[in-house]
Structures are given as structure tokens and as C-alpha cells.
């Protein structure tokens, strides 16, 4: 009998088609392991039709829109599979919105959004894949997006 490297989950989310070696960054932006006490499986450099990919399986958790937007910033081709009772009940590709609010901290230390003002950070999405975002306030491009996700 063929043995699966990672077993199916009963309930939760499978994030598929993550670029190779980016799975740990996905966990980082989802604040895992702090954000969940359920089982999390990570598969890296898995062979697929399109080359290699990473996969993350999170049991007992369905991602909200904000979490999906975070993933779209570092894995724009990722797909989100919602699992209930071992069945995929929902499957969609992440979609980076035209504007990102309150998710990324501006990399410019002298941007007004990094000071004590009653506003959330705000970015205009210049390009979706690869992601290229520009701060709405200081108009600077943000590099190392994964490191800037709040």
C-alpha cells in the first residue's frame, strides 16, 4: 500500500501551490504556531506538474480574508482549499486586492504612517504577480514585503 507523506486532514485549510521554500514565510505571516494549537503540516519542495511547490495544511482553521490577503502578497499563485469532513468544499486561488490596508508596515522609517497617527497603513498594488506595492502616504516602493507584514 502506497504511504502518503502527509495524511489528509478532516477539517481545516490546505494552502497549495506555494512557491518552493516559501512555506515557512507563509507560517510566519499567519503567526503560526502562536495562532493555533492544532496540527500543522508543512511539505516543502514537493514535485508537481509546474515544477516544485510547498504545501501547508492547518487543521481546525479556516483562513479569513485578511489572512488570505497576507498570503497573496508572498505566494500570489497559491490556492486555498477549505476542508470539511475530508472533502474539499471550497477551492480558490488567492487574489491580491487593488489596495492593501492595515496588513503591511511601510518600510520607510520616516513615513507618517509609522508615527502615532490615527490611520492604518495603506498600499496601492502596482503589480499583482510578482507583488509590487507602493505606500499610499509616502509613495515609496516596499521591498521585502514578507518581512513587513504585520
Amino acid at each position: 500500500m502506497k504511504e502518503l507523506k502527509v495524511t489528509p486532514i478532516k477539517k481545516g485549510t490546505v494552502i497549495d501551490h506555494i512557491p518552493p521554500c516559501m512555506a515557512l514565510k507563509v507560517l510566519h505571516v499567519l503567526k503560526i504556531p502562536e495562532a493555533t494549537s492544532s496540527a500543522v503540516s508543512v511539505a516543502m519542495n514537493v514535485k508537481s506538474k509546474m515544477g516544485k511547490k510547498d504545501i501547508v495544511k492547518i487543521e481546525n482553521k479556516e483562513l479569513d480574508k485578511r489572512e488570505v490577503n497576507k498570503i497573496s502578497l508572498i505566494a500570489p499563485k497559491a490556492t486555498i482549499n477549505i476542508i470539511r469532513n475530508y472533502e474539499v468544499v471550497e477551492k480558490h486561488r488567492v487574489q491580491l486586492p487593488d489596495e492593501i490596508v492595515g496588513i503591511v508596515k511601510c518600510s520607510n522609517p520616516t513615513c507618517i504612517s509609522n508615527f502615532r497617527e490615527p490611520v492604518e497603513s495603506r498600499f496601492i498594488v502596482v503589480n499583482k504577480d510578482p507583488p509590487h506595492i507602493k505606500c499610499y502616504y509616502c509613495e515609496r516602493d516596499t521591498e521585502d514585503i514578507a518581512e513587513r507584514i504585520i
Binding site: 520616516t110 513615513c111 507618517i112 504612517s113 499610499y136 509616502c138 509613495e139
Partner: protein, 310 residues
């Protein structure tokens, strides 16, 4: 085109057609800016002049522009005398100024401060410089100076010299000059090169700027030499500043390489980058350029405050 009530945060907020309209109106403002003619088209209007950072020309020319249009000015030039000192947020300061006046002009050390101010004010906000970010009225007066001296903007060969990395005026100017189809040459020390995103914006308009460190060659057939100060206050490290200060100096010797009708511009203040002997040459345009801030800001204030057209 309706400018009434609009914020002036970045030159990118305006189309080429709108910029042209502002420049044409600024030309009409010149005799009023000089005091040769009088007008009261902004009588009863109040401008808040909020300068959280030092300024000479920008603040004085904005205030002069408002007075020349018959309006009034309230505000401060020293943030230490305001509630900012007590820890008040910029958003709250703007809410107050909004309640007291019809328009707000702001200079602030943090990039994006003017854009944020626009979110908290119903009145129009004019950006008078936000840190190393935008300075749209400087850009407009630079375009106005080139237009009035050279009769056109497109087709001119324009050298931007000095701190092209941190200098806020050159970023907006490179964008606007590309919008108008000027030829651009960027001259700077290696460590102060024009950021790639600015170069990319120039290319979007079909302009391919030349990058060089050689000023002598760059000005040989240039129409405009735009000099900038290497700004000590923008450097994260004093040692880096000391390495580049004095790299370029515009003097009468250098001008021997240039055409007679080259005009030299500078947003001022200058420190060591232009020799004072150049001031007496017909090439020196920087003081006239500084005056041009008045008619250009008069045109903008009049347009956004809905003053009767002159």
C-alpha cells in the same frame, strides 16, 4: 477644469493639461506678484500656514501670495510653540487648522504627512514639502521658470545635478519634465544616484535619461542646469555626507564648457555648490526662480479657493 477644493499633494495628482492651465494662469499673476497691479480676489479667505520644518522661500512666498490676493494668513513657523510639543498628533492639529481657515499649507518632516492631512481636512491642503517626499509647488515653479525663459519645456536638454537620491525636488521634477518630453541627464556622485523607480517613471513617458558622474561633458550642449544642495539633514550617516559634500561646484570656469544661453536653476538654499561669482552671470536664474514661487502659488491658491479669474 475645476480646481476648486482640490488638494495639492503631489504633482502626479495633476494632468499635463491641468499643469499647463496653472502655468498659464501664473503668467497672468506676475504683475500682481510684483505689486504693479492690485487685487482682492481672496478677500475674507484665510490660509493656515503650518511649517513643522524650517523654510524661507516656500513659507514667505506662500504667505506673500495669499496677501497679494487680498487674503489673510494664520499659522506658525516653529512647531515648538504648538501642541505638537505636547504630543498632539498631526491629524488633530490639522482638524483644528481646518476649523480655523479655508485652506492649509503644510511643511512637515515626515513623508506622507500632507497626504494624511488631506484625509483629516475638508479644506484643500497644499503640500509645501513632506520630508524627502513631494514638493509639488516647487516643481510647478521650476516648470514655470523653464517655460518663461525657454518658451517651451519639451525638447530642452536639462541636467539635474547633485543629490538625486534624497533631493525631493528632483524626483517630482524628473517626473514632470518627462511628462512634458524634455531630455534628461542625471549627474550625481555614485552614492546619490537617482532612484530606479524615478528613472522607471521617466521611461513610462518615453524619456531615456542619461546617468553620468561627469558634469563637464553633461553641460556641453545643455539648455538648463538644475543644481541641488547635498542635504546634510537627509543623510542617515554624517560620514557619508562628508564623503560627497563638495563633489561638484558650479563656477565660472565650468561655464566655459556651456552654451551662452544655458540657464542655471537651484531650489535654494545653496551652500557650496554654486560659486557666488556665478550670481553675476546672465546664466544665473535662481533668484528669479525663487520669485516665480509667488505668481505660481498665487495661481494655485486662487484656483483651489475659487477666486474670481483675473
Amino acid at each position: 477644469m475645476d480646481f476648486k477644493g482640490r488638494d495639492v499633494i503631489s504633482v502626479k495628482d495633476f494632468s499635463k493639461k491641468e499643469i499647463n492651465e496653472i502655468l498659464i494662469y501664473a503668467k497672468k499673476m506676475v504683475p500682481y506678484a510684483k505689486g504693479e497691479k492690485q487685487t482682492n480676489i481672496l478677500k475674507e479667505k484665510i490660509l493656515s500656514s503650518l511649517f513643522f520644518e524650517p523654510s524661507t522661500r516656500t513659507r514667505l512666498s506662500f504667505e506673500c501670495a495669499m496677501h497679494r490676493l487680498g487674503g489673510n494668513v494664520i499659522g506658525f513657523a516653529d512647531p515648538n510653540a504648538t501642541s505638537q510639543k505636547k504630543g498632539e498628533s498631526l491629524a488633530d492639529s490639522i482638524r483644528m487648522a481646518d476649523a480655523y481657515s479655508d485652506a492649509i499649507v503644510i511643511r512637515h518632516p515626515q513623508e506622507g504627512a500632507a497626504r494624511l492631512s488631506g484625509e483629516f481636512a475638508d479644506s484643500p491642503v497644499l503640500n509645501a514639502g513632506d520630508g524627502a517626499g513631494q514638493h509639488p509647488t516647487q516643481c510647478l515653479l521650476d516648470l514655470f521658470t523653464i517655460l518663461t525663459e525657454k518658451k517651451k519645456i519639451n525638447g530642452n536638454k536639462i541636467v539635474l545635478l547633485g543629490d538625486l537620491k534624497y533631493g525631493r525636488t528632483v524626483h517630482s521634477l524628473a517626473y514632470a519634465l518627462s511628462l512634458f518630453g524634455a531630455e534628461l541627464i542625471f549627474v550625481s556622485p555614485q552614492s546619490l544616484k537617482m532612484p530606479k523607480e524615478v528613472i522607471s517613471e521617466c521611461k513610462d513617458f518615453g524619456v531615456e535619461p542619461t546617468n553620468t558622474t561627469n558634469l563637464d561633458n553633461a553641460i556641453k550642449d545643455a539648455d538648463v542646469l538644475y543644481v541641488t544642495r547635498i542635504q546634510k539633514e537627509r543623510f542617515p550617516d554624517a560620514e557619508e555626507y562628508n564623503k560627497v559634500i563638495g563633489t561638484y561646484k558650479v563656477d565660472t570656469e565650468l561655464l566655459k564648457h556651456a552654451h551662452n544661453d544655458l540657464i542655471i536653476m537651484h531650489p535654494l538654499p545653496r551652500v557650496v555648490e554654486i560659486d557666488p561669482h556665478v550670481d553675476k552671470t546672465p546664466n544665473a536664474l535662481y533668484f528669479k526662480q525663487a520669485f516665480n514661487g509667488v505668481p505660481v502659488r498665487m495661481a494655485l491658491l486662487s484656483l483651489i479657493l475659487g477666486g474670481k479669474k483675473l
